[in-house]
């Protein structure tokens, strides 16, 4: 491993989810988060997982990240079962989860420090490369509390990209941002995805966001979490969240979403 191979995107990962089930024991009793879910994701595909809260989409993401294990079934990354977290799969959360005791550069370097065979100077170069990629080179040495919400998510994105993962897992990363910042980030994430060619799994409960970003939108229903429908979004990139073509896709998905909600179903945000 050297700096040259670090800056070239690693080939994207192929992901196969086979009959995965997962339950949690809560104070209300046993909750089935995922029930026999199967899905396969092609190399370099941008897949959005949509569904109301409680449909297990975040649980699925955690299992792909290796933070949790399925009760039954298996998840294969390039044919190998996922046994734990690894630098080829990086995750972004709704909160930036940046470390306040490190500056921007330190945060982006965190994952790089865990990669062996790199010199510290090389790690710094790689980190600077990704900080530039998200447009924050002026803030390399800023402290986390000095950044706006959108900037924090950019740093979190740079931190996730820096170890050169092959798969990016995003758990509602833009949900807490204002509309303007979000639209900018929709453009940026599409640019970065085109340029860096990653497989991306993106969890959201915003249907329009899903239609804007995904090659495919996977619709989940809750209690127990199941995949109900899959939609191919055939629109050219980069897509604009406000475009009319996109609206027809999102209204189709919204209709399906309402159909699959149980009569007593929960409220769906937007």
């Amino acid at each position: 491993m050297s700096i040259d191979t670090e800056l070239v995107s690693a080939p994207p990962e192929k992901l196969v989810i086979e009959k995965v089930s997962k339950h949690f024991d809560t104070s209300q009793g046993k909750v089935i988060a995922l029930d026999n879910v199967s899905l396969s994701v092609r190399e370099g595909e941008f897949v959005c997982l949509v569904g109301p809260s409680g449909c297990g989409k975040s649980t699925l993401l955690n299992m792909i990240a290796g933070l949790e294990m399925p009760d039954s079934g298996q998840i294969l990354a390039d044919g190998n079962a996922i046994k734990g977290p690894g630098s080829e799969r990086m995750m972004m959360f709704q909160e930036s989860a940046l470390f306040p005791w490190l500056d921007v550069l330190g945060n982006v370097m965190f994952g790089l420090r865990l990669k062996p065979n790199l010199k510290d100077a090389e790690r710094r170069d790689v980190a600077r490369f990704y900080i530039k990629l998200v447009g924050l080179e002026k803030f390399t040495h800023s402290n986390v509390h000095e950044l706006s919400g959108g900037m924090k998510q950019r740093v979190a994105l740079a931190r996730a990209l820096a170890p050169n993962p092959r798969l990016l897992l995003m758990d509602e990363p833009f949900a807490a941002l204002d509309a303007m910042t979000r639209e900018q980030l929709y453009r940026d994430i599409q640019d970065i995805w085109t340029e860096r060619k990653k497989t991306i799994l993106f969890v959201t409960h915003n249907v329009r966001e899903a239609a804007c970003l995904g090659d495919r939108v996977i619709l989940f229903s809750p209690h127990p979490g199941r995949i109900q429908e899959k939609f191919d979004v055939r629109l050219p990139r980069n897509r604009d969240i406000n475009s009319v073509d996109l609206a027809s896709y999102s209204s189709e998905i919204t209709k399906a979403l309402k159909r699959h909600l149980r009569p007593a179903g929960e409220e769906v945000a937007k």
């Binding site: 977290p85 959360f93 470390f99 005791w101 965190f110 865990l114 509390h145 170890p163």
Partner: protein, 256 residues
């Protein structure tokens, strides 16, 4: 700078009014030393070397007790946060003993160890250990779980997660625990020096204070109290202000 002058002027005014009231006999002199009496005592005690020796003896005891408390309390606090078994055993003991005012350890120390340095050390240790331990545990337990998860996804685990994430994340709590431990150590030592009279291995500030009372030298008593305050303030500033400056810039916490 303006705030510095405000404070300085305030204290100057207090001292002047105080001096005036004592000289005019409005305050009874045998019970109320004037600032100049205190100043004279301090100069004379400094010149005789008595005060410097006593401060040195006291500081040695303090740092020995405090650093052993830190060396034992921090790791125990970490372990306590990590293992539920320890929380249910050691944690309960620590919580109970922390409520015990440190001077209450003096009788036990005297019976067990006698009138010596060990007793002194024991009182300081008992006074500060538990608050450091508990603050460390609290600090670790209030680290947002998202930090842990984020670090795990980046491939951090085991020991690395502890020193690279949990420890720095809990720093604000741990430092305030260390400060509290320091304050307790200082109080315990003063209690111990007044209560456990140790002369052979050196007279500390507490003992001087005790003697001042015995000979009814109010200027000496007040002068030594001033020295105790000054040492407390200096140590606090020197030991903790680097941490506080770091937290101020990084976390954006406000600094007074």
């Amino acid at each position: 700078m303006k705030r510095f002058w405000t404070s300085s002027l305030f204290f100057l005014a207090v001292i002047l009014v105080w001096e005036f009231l004592v000289r005019r006999g409005i305050w009874d002199s045998p019970l109320m030393p004037s600032p100049s009496d205190i100043g004279l005592y301090l100069i004379q005690a400094f010149q005789s070397g008595e005060l410097i020796d006593a401060s040195w003896v006291t500081c040695k005891r303090l740092f020995l007790g405090y650093f052993v408390s830190l060396a034992v309390g921090l790791p125990l606090g970490l372990l306590n946060a990590r293992f539920r078994f320890l929380q249910d055993t050691l944690g309960v003991v620590a919580l109970g003993l922390q409520t015990l005012p440190s001077v209450c350890w003096a009788p036990v120390a005297l019976i067990t160890f006698g009138q010596n340095e060990v007793a002194m050390f024991f009182i300081v240790l008992m006074g500060s250990l538990f608050s450091i331990l508990l603050a460390t545990t609290d600090g670790i337990q209030s680290v947002p779980p998202i930090y842990y998860r984020a670090a795990r996804t980046m491939g951090s685990d085991g020991f690395h997660t502890w020193y690279a994430v949990m420890l720095p994340a809990s720093l604000p709590f741990v430092v305030s625990g260390m400060k509290q431990g320091w304050a307790f150590a200082w109080r315990s030592l003063m209690g111990a020096e007044i209560y456990v009279i140790v002369q052979k291995t050196g007279a500390g500030l507490g003992l001087l204070l005790h003697y001042g009372r015995e000979v009814h030298d109010i200027a000496a008593v007040a002068g030594i109290m001033v020295i105790i305050v000054v040492i407390g303030l200096l140590a606090d500033k020197i030991m903790f202000s680097p941490f506080e400056r770091f937290m101020h810039t990084r976390w954006g916490t406000s600094r007074q």
